[in-house]
């Protein structure tokens, strides 16, 4: 709420209003005085990304139950306010508003698309509430549309592109590339990032076919790919669309005739594409099997998650889980849920949990942590429940792949 700033913009009307604004302040302060901390969980429970959303919810509930069992945050119980964002910017935004206005949420987290993340981010900036985005991969969340109140731990498209390029070019060289790209901001930014790294190094882009989000029939695009006989076929699709696209690509014999790239994958997409994902190269910020081998904290998390839900956590779930723990850490350090106090702490905080030491970059609030390059393994080798879907080709440390500051167009507000 910014009545004070407005008063400067011209003669201010209704000083009573100003007074009340001060008196009743932002919900953040309100609920800080009350006996609980409300966190808004804004995740898709319907629509193409609902599987990702449900898995995030599992992780949130796990983290919050653990916290409440061990005495909450600063002795305050953590309560949640849940909403189905339907992967629609408008709905996500309205949910967040409800969580803040009605339920007094002091922090909003979740989401499975960049569109919703950007919308919620903008709202939280207006409302002066904290937003810890979860599954958003588009650059803009911490670049063009970055905000003081928004932190994104999940790696962005730029980082994926860098990681992929490094591994691929060292492993398979360059050659001819054919892109099938989801025709919206995320798809564009992934494609542009990838092209920007591989094309200069000799990769020849034959075509980039952009298809509407929610396309059911990919045959036309896939035939073109087939006719072009590329060395690398990049399927920049996510969720159900990626599953559809890759499965149809297989029936066109493309999984055999060329190297297939899927810039971002998670456990559920891999499961959906069954054996077609074999040998497909992709990236992910977290892979339960790999990280539980290397980090004890991750082992603990994966174990607890599996014990409770009998499934392994997707990388979105891991990000959700860590978001909550990081928030707890920050609040306890600040001894307050007031974003004004929390933001500087989050900007300078280090933590060492599921992936070793990581932090948010002060300038754009992008999480600096590692990116894995994965390669799909045959369905037969994925274990009974099919969650062990890939082997790790390479782990790229955050600082190596993150976008250089001078390339950013992020203009962070002062407050």
């Amino acid at each position: 709420m910014t009545p004070v700033s407005t008063s400067s913009r011209g003669r201010f009307i209704g000083s009573a209003a100003a007074a009340s604004a001060v008196a009743f302040g932002s919900p953040a302060i309100l609920s800080a005085q009350s006996k609980e901390i409300v966190i808004g969980l804004n995740v898709p429970q319907s629509g193409p990304y609902s599987e990702q959303g449900k898995d995030q919810l599992r992780a949130y509930n796990l983290a919050i139950d653990e916290i409440n069992k061990s005495g909450g945050i600063m002795g305050l119980k953590v309560k949640t306010s849940v909403g189905d964002d339907q992967t629609t910017a408008g709905v996500a935004r309205d949910n967040a508003q409800r969580m803040i206005d009605r339920d007094g949420a002091v922090m909003i987290t979740g989401g499975s698309s960049t569109g919703t993340a950007v919308a919620v981010s903008a709202l939280c900036q207006q409302k002066g509430s904290l937003f810890m985005a979860t599954l958003t991969h588009g650059d803009e969340t911490t670049n063009q549309n970055c905000h003081k109140h928004t932190f994104r731990r999940y790696n962005d498209a730029y980082m994926s592109a860098q990681a992929l390029a490094r591994t691929l070019i060292s492993k398979y060289g360059t050659g001819t590339w054919f892109h099938i790209t989801a025709d919206y901001s995320w798809g564009w930014s992934v494609h542009d990032n990838l092209a920007a790294v591989v094309n200069p190094r000799g990769a020849k882009e034959i075509a980039n076919v952009k298809l509407k989000l929610g396309t059911t029939d990919f045959s036309s695009a896939l035939s073109q790919a087939q006719a072009a006989k590329p060395d690398v076929l990049v399927l920049t699709e996510f969720g159900a669309d990626m599953v559809n696209c890759l499965n149809q690509a297989a029936t066109f014999g493309l999984t055999k005739s060329c190297k297939i790239l899927v810039p971002l994958v998670d456990e559920y997409m891999a499961k959906g594409t069954k054996d077609n994902f074999t040998n497909v190269v992709s990236t992910a910020p977290f892979y339960w099997q790999y990280h539980q081998q290397h980090y004890t904290f991750a082992k603990k998390f994966v174990g607890a998650f599996y014990d409770r839900y009998k499934v392994y956590p997707s990388n979105g779930a891991e990000c959700a889980y860590v978001n909550i723990l990081v928030y707890k850490k920050a609040v306890e350090q600040a001894q307050s849920t007031d974003p004004a106090k929390l933001i500087p702490i989050l900007e300078n905080m280090q933590w060492n949990m599921t992936k070793g030491p990581e932090h948010f970059r002060k300038e754009d609030h992008q999480g600096v942590n590692s990116v894995l390059v994965l390669e799909g393994v045959p369905e037969a080798d994925r274990g009974a429940d099919g969650f062990a879907f890939a082997k790790v080709l390479e782990e790229h440390s955050g600082p190596n792949v993150i976008a250089p500051l001078n390339s950013l167009s992020c203009k962070m507000e002062t407050a």
């Binding site: 609902s50 059911t216 045959s219 036309s220 035939s223 073109q224 969720g239 014999g253 069954k274």
Partner: protein
């Protein structure tokens, strides 16, 4: 050149899928003058019945169970809900069937979850066959052939049976249908069920190509309306022509400028509605409905 032949082939297959969905829509309109926004729901129900059956007993039984199940559902709908809306103003028809579509979609979401479901891998059918310069998915070709067979059967039904007579009469002149008298109620139920069964069958048969989600029905409803309007509401051959036209148009647009592949069909529909509202092969009599 190869790319073009492939595009044309894809357009043909895609077009046949549209035809298959649209044909039920159009004969139902032709006979009952019912604008059925729930037609996509029939597709989805068929797909899910097919999924359940296919997972347990394979695709063959699925292709049998889906149309039967959907037809039964349609009869129920016809008897319980829709009767009073036949011949009523189009607006209330659109509204009630739109509402039914909503309910079906959400019920499916409740039962099967919102996630996209994959048909069990089809041994042998998931392969691709070589067509000279390029290979093509075997199942798509099989599907296309199946659609053609089905269309022939529907056509025979329309030409050779009394019900078919009623359908064709209905397209031209409602009163003539009324004159045919007593069996009209039963006939209309049968036609409605048939239209639904076709959609259900297509739903089950197409799902190995396209995975299914609760929203799939609506995703196919809109294009099939485009097809029917372009071809001419109520006209069998119109649906066929419209479907193939839209299929090729979409496929070729993807080749030329992919982002427009989706919007082009609306452009096409708008042009037809403005220049020849009754559709390419439609009867002008129905326009004011």
């Amino acid at each position: 050149m190869v790319a073009l032949t492939q595009a044309l082939l894809n357009g043909l297959v895609l077009g046949l899928i549209y035809v298959a969905i649209a044909v039920g829509l159009t004969i139902v309109f032709g006979t009952l003058r019912l604008v059925n926004f729930a037609h996509g729901a029939f597709y989805a129900i068929g797909a899910y019945i097919g999924l359940v059956v296919a997972q347990n007993w394979g695709l063959g039984p699925a292709l049998l169970a889906a149309p039967i199940g959907v037809a039964l559902f349609a009869v129920l709908l016809d008897r319980v809900l829709l009767r009073p809306f036949y011949g009523k103003d189009v607006t209330s028809q659109i509204l009630v069937t739109f509402g039914i579509a909503l309910i079906v979609e959400e019920t499916l979401r409740l039962i099967f979850g919102a996630t996209t479901q994959q048909y069990p891998a089809l041994a042998g059918l998931a392969t691709s066959v070589s067509l000279g310069p390029f290979v093509y998915p075997a199942y798509r070709l099989l599907f296309a052939a199946g659609v053609i067979v089905m269309l022939v059967l529907v056509w025979l039904f329309m030409e050779k049976t009394d019900y078919g007579l009623i359908v064709r009469a209905g397209v031209r002149d409602r009163t003539m249908v009324q004159l045919l008298g007593g069996n009209i109620r039963q006939a209309s139920t049968i036609v409605f069920a048939l239209g639904a069964a076709i959609a259900g069958l297509v739903g089950a048969a197409a799902s190995p190509i396209y995975s299914i989600a609760p929203g799939t029905g609506f995703a196919f409803l809109v294009p099939s309306f485009v097809v029917v309007v372009v071809g001419g509401l109520g006209s069998f051959w119109g649906a066929v022509l419209g479907g193939l036209l839209i299929g090729e148009l979409q496929s070729l647009t993807t080749l030329a400028f992919a982002p427009a592949a989706n919007v082009i069909i609306y452009l096409c529909m708008a042009l037809v509605l403005l220049l020849r509202p009754q559709g390419l092969l439609g009867e002008s009599e129905v326009i004011r409905q």
